[in-house]
Amino acid sequence: MKNLHRNNRSKFSKSIIFSLVFLVLGFMFSYSYSLSKSQERSSEFTGGAYFEQEEQYRKELIEQQERNKSLREELEEKQAAIQEFEQSFSEGESRNTDYAEEAEELRRVLGLLPVEGSGLTVTLQDGEYNSDSVNPNDYIVHESHVFQVINELYISGAEAISINGQRIHANSHIVCTGPVIAVDGVQHPAPFTIAAIGKPDVLASSIKLSGGVMDQLVNDNVVVTLDEGQVISMPAFLTET
């Protein structure tokens, strides 16, 4: 009985092994069968469809290349536009700097900025007391004298003028108030130092013209002192002095 049982069991294990062997066998057969079948199909596929696909790829490639070309053209166009823009921008920038310089120049002329430069100073001093003359107006400096000097200086190319350190601008007013002169409401006593920035020799020679300003002033008993060739610095007219 026991022997029979063992026999049965060994038979069972044997059949298990055989089934395993046949499983592998069947699997290999059928798998290689299906594999060769699929390879046949793929070789069929390589026949016609391959060229078709190649054609399609080529078409796509050409499309892409055309697109690249158009894009490159567009890029070139845009770059040219950018270059143009940059050029105009730089031009505008240089123009802007020109404008800024001009504005500064104009401000300097208007007296909005402190300036410094070589020029001429004219000092007008009251004449010495003269017992012969009855009227003291004959030997003191009047506003008209100052006007004359200033006008002469402007005519001969002065760029900036100040009286006793106070800047004169386009709307300045000079008023004689008794023994003093009020420049824009600020009173200045004699002597008056009129400083002008410009070409010193030109300014001096225009003042010294015979029959010109200097002679007239001397006639009016005003002591005139010219001092040329020194560097004059002037404040802006808005600053308090």
């Binding site: 298990i16 089934s19 499983l23 299906s34």
Partner: protein
């Protein structure tokens, strides 16, 4: 017996249903393995007919031949020598020999039976 048939059917259906794709250069290995398994199968049948069949020899030979054939082919591919031809040749010759032996044995058996029946009759 029935279990073996079941295993065969299961293997066939598994192989047909497998959608796994292997590179074409490995398909050669599979064909050699198929050849080796066929050789072992017929060898087993012949041994059975000659009454010298052994389970262990059959099963070990089955798997070992498959692995050996595939390994030989693999080695041949990497060495640049067509060693799979050697495997195909060896297994092919043995297959034919086995089949021839089986045929003769069956023929002998049949004639023996016939003679026995005639003598009996």
């Amino acid at each position: 017996m029935w279990l073996s048939v079941l295993g065969l059917l299961l293997g066939i259906s598994l192989g047909l249903l497998t959608d796994m794709q292997i590179p074409p250069e490995y398909a050669d290995y599979l064909s050699i393995a198929v050849l080796a398994s066929l050789d072992t199968l017929f060898g087993g049948i012949r041994a059975h007919l000659q009454h010298m069949y052994d389970d262990k020899v059959f099963v070990s030979g089955f798997f070992f031949n498959i692995v050996l054939a595939a390994g030989l082919a693999f080695l041949g591919v990497h060495l640049g020598v067509d060693l799979y031809l050697a495997a195909i040749f060896a297994f092919g010759v043995r297959l034919f020999q086995n089949i021839a032996v089986i045929r003769r044995l069956l023929l002998a058996k049949w004639t023996n039976k016939k003679e026995a029946r005639e003598s009996l009759g």
